[in-house]
């Protein structure tokens, strides 16, 4: 065991840092670091820059554009991207749909979709949850009836993140309502969002942001060739995908950057004439979060290292999700605490001049990050998974 970075790993860090410095536009960086909303173009332009460099999907197999990096290199890359303020690579295509296609897709599907996902030609979104099917996902009702060489899809998806940017949506649909086990009636379908019969409606969250949507399907005709894996095998695909989804939810490098920002803010804020950072009551809270994050950084790499050789992520990533999201939330709370009374400001009534948008973004972020312990399987569901899969309870 050696938890120090090797000279090769340090050299790799320098290489990544140098490339980002030369290629990340200031406008994008400023948007990210000031918590501004990123447009579809913002997200895709960075995606395309990474694709051109060959770094957009490090963990894919080499033949499809993967980099063959070790777990440590992948983490270094993530850390450098977050520290520099790079926009995120949206997970739905690269981290979710693609692993599914690589594992279950036909050769034709791989050839058709993977290069486009890699190059950022299509913006993918996820159609899993439904109004009546949240934690109990297998109860989903959106139906897909076979009609010749098409499926006809009718139903509703909800909480569709960035659905309003979506070109394509991968969906869990019910192809057979009469199976003994309801999981056996579910299939995994790729749907072009330009197909007639699809309506996307925004859901505004308590931070006033438009991030998630409802997606309605009314007799939407989907070519049967867009079925991934066999009909009725959607649940197998769904679970496989969820492992990959959760792998990305720990967001440790992101939390590291955010914690450093809070420390920086707390060093400038004063309380009784001293930096707030030196106030023992505040400092102890901050330190406990920091210590938890130091430990999680190692836990994360220890766990992901066990996936060497291509094993799909299992219950271990549930733990990363639980701890990672708890830390993300704690940091947003600390940031509000640093701003104190100024954290109450939210929106200017008229005129934007002189309004401190950064401080005003702390409360929306605190609101927004409440989602983290709910999405991708609530943290309670993650505990159920660990109890069953790891502990055998």
């Amino acid at each position: 065991m050696d938890l120090n970075y090797s000279p090769e790993e340090s050299a790799f860090r320098d290489e990544v840092r140098g490339w980002i410095r030369a290629n990340l536009p200031d406008t994008l960086r400023d948007k990210v670091l000031n918590y501004r909303e990123l447009s579809k173009d913002d997200l895709l332009s960075w995606h395309k820059a990474l694709a051109k460099k060959g770094w957009v999907a490090p963990f894919w197999p080499k033949e499809w554009g993967g980099t063959d990096w070790t777990v440590v290199q992948r983490y270094i890359f993530e850390e450098e991207c977050e520290a520099a303020g790079c926009p995120p690579v949206v997970a739905f295509g690269v981290r979710m749909c693609a692993p599914v296609l690589l594992r279950f897709g036909s050769d034709a599907q791989k050839k058709r979709f993977l290069p486009r996902i890699y190059n950022g030609d299509d913006f993918w979104v996820q159609g899993y949850s439904e109004p009546g099917s949240g934690s109990d996902l297998a109860s989903l009702k959106t139906r897909a009836l076979r009609d010749g060489d098409h499926y006809v899809v009718t139903g509703q998806k909800i909480w569709t993140t960035l659905g309003h940017y979506g070109d394509w949506i991968f969906c869990l649909v019910r192809t057979n309502p009469n199976t003994e086990k309801r999981q056996d009636g579910i299939s995994f379908l790729l749907i072009d969002m330009k197909t007639p019969g699809i309506t996307v409606r925004p859901i505004i969250l308590m931070d006033q942001g438009h991030e998630v949507n409802e997606v309605f399907f009314d007799e939407v005709r989907v070519p049967a060739e867009n079925l991934v894996h066999d009909e009725g095998k959607g649940w197998t695909v769904a679970k496989y995908l969820l492992g990959y989804e959760r792998m990305g939810t720990g967001r440790i490098a992101f939390s590291k950057r955010e914690l450093e920002r809070v420390k920086g803010m707390a060093a400038k804020a004063t309380k009784n004439g001293r930096p707030l950072l030196e106030d023992p009551r505040f400092r102890d809270k901050l330190s406990r979060v920091e210590v938890e994050l130091i430990a999680l950084e190692i836990t994360n790499m220890r766990f992901l290292d066990q996936l060497r050789g291509g094993r799909a992520p299992g219950a271990e990533v549930s733990m990363l999700k639980i701890k990672g999201t708890e830390i993300q939330q704690a940091i947003t709370e600390l940031a509000m605490q640093v701003a104190g009374p100024f954290a109450q400001a939210f929106r200017p009534v008229d005129g934007d001049d002189g309004f401190d948008r950064l401080t005003a973004s702390l409360f929306p972020r605190y609101c927004n990050l409440r989602k983290a312990t709910i999405y991708a399987g609530s943290n309670e569901i993650q505990r159920n998974i660990i109890a069953k899969a790891t502990l055998g309870l």
Partner: protein, 376 residues
């Protein structure tokens, strides 16, 4: 980076666990801690025989030249078995002072004998009313003739009753609280003027209050430079802190395994209590505490050998904060989930509770280390 124990480390772990599983059962431990000395000479001899006492010391003294990660392997196993022998005091504290600050002559006099199991050691510094700050020591020493005379006390000396040789911190100049002016002395426990009052601790280990009344020692009893002991005290105590973190990881592992087993076998309302979600989620949180404590103990084990002093202080304190929190969380939950049985003397889980409670405060509780972490 590399996240796995080496084959050599795995072998070390297996060998030690094999011995402890047969030679150090819970019943055997119970008998040992009820003896007059509170530890077993036979077990000590066996640990020497297996080379466990030699792990961190240099080859020239008969040691294995091991890293702190090697020691982590040992401490995890000792923690899981709740070993009460004076290993930490001898190998992790006393022997470390000699190895790090001793002259070649001092090392030659003590270390080979320690490795062979013939010399036990302990470290004393704590004054009455003291806490965790090593700048505050209970004894004073002054030059006299060819050597020194030491007066004062060292309270709560871990395994001070078992020790043949004590490392005593005494102030030779300056005032209480100064980092400068502290010196270390090798004091044979039989030296006239040294008295020890031994007692059991809450976890069935032993400590001693050592009183020093006009204790005369020779010039070569001085360990390291006169008045310059503080940095080495901090270094050795950071090392020992890392070791108890690893020991805690082993004890937490036991508490985790025992509790999980209990949830699967204990039946109420006609079903195993592990089928209840309220308990499942608490069990998962125990597992998370274990993994987080293990990760940060690994990090401390690596950094205590390789980092500069500032980084070493920061990471060791981070580890102790997390481990102290995990000690409290897991020990309390293990008892709670065992119900009434968890309260009883007859179950190992209650003894694990006691050891973890002790480790949470050893070499500084979470609050002490939060202060140190913030200052680092």
């Amino acid at each position: 980076m590399d996240f796995e124990y080496s084959d050599e480390q795995k072998l070390l772990s297996e060998t030690l666990r094999k011995f402890l599983n047969t030679g150090y059962t819970f019943d055997a431990r119970d008998k040992i801690m009820k003896t007059a000395t509170g530890y077993s000479e036979d077990v000590w001899a066996a640990l020497a025989e297996m080379g466990i006492l030699s792990v961190p010391f240099a080859a020239e003294h008969g040691g294995f030249g091991g890293t702190t990660v090697d020691m982590m392997v040992v401490m995890e196993a000792l923690g899981e078995a709740l070993v009460v022998e004076p290993y930490l005091a001898t190998v992790g504290l006393g022997g470390q002072f000699v190895a790090r600050a001793g002259t070649p002559a001092q090392q030659q006099r003590i270390l080979p004998s320690l490795i062979q199991g013939k010399t036990k050691m302990a470290f004393g510094h704590l004054p009455s009313g003291g806490r965790y700050d090593l700048r505050s020591v209970g004894a004073k020493a002054r030059a006299a003739g060819d050597g020194f005379v030491i007066d004062g006390e060292a309270r709560m000396v871990l395994d001070g009753g078992a020790a043949d040789v004590l490392v005593v911190a005494a102030r030779t100049s300056g005032v209480d609280g100064d980092a400068r002016g502290i010196s270390l002395f090798l004091v044979d426990r039989g030296t006239p003027g040294v008295t020890t009052r031994e007692y059991r601790t809450l976890d069935n280990h032993r400590v001693a209050d050592v009183t020093l009344g006009g204790v005369q020692v020779a010039r070569d009893a001085l360990l390291g430079a006169e008045g310059q002991a503080f940095p080495v005290m901090e270094e050795v105590v950071d090392y020992a802190t890392t070791l108890v973190c690893a020991e805690a990881v082993g004890a937490i592992k036991y508490a985790h395994d025992a509790t999980l087993d209990y949830l699967k076998t204990r039946r109420q309302f006609g079903v195993p209590i592990g089928s209840f979600q309220a308990l499942q989620h608490r069990m998962v949180d125990i597992l998370i505490s274990y993994e987080q404590a293990k990760s940060i103990a690994c990090l401390a084990s690596v950094k205590v050998d390789t980092a500069d002093p500032a980084e070493r202080r920061r990471i060791v304190s981070a580890a102790k904060i997390k481990v102290a929190d995990a000690c409290r969380h897991v020990s309390q939950e293990a008892v709670q989930l065992h119900g009434g049985m968890g309260m009883t003397e007859e179950l190992k889980v209650s003894h694990t509770f006691r050891r973890l409670t002790s480790i949470a405060a050893a070499f500084g509780d979470a609050e002490h280390h939060l202060e140190r972490f913030a200052g680092a």
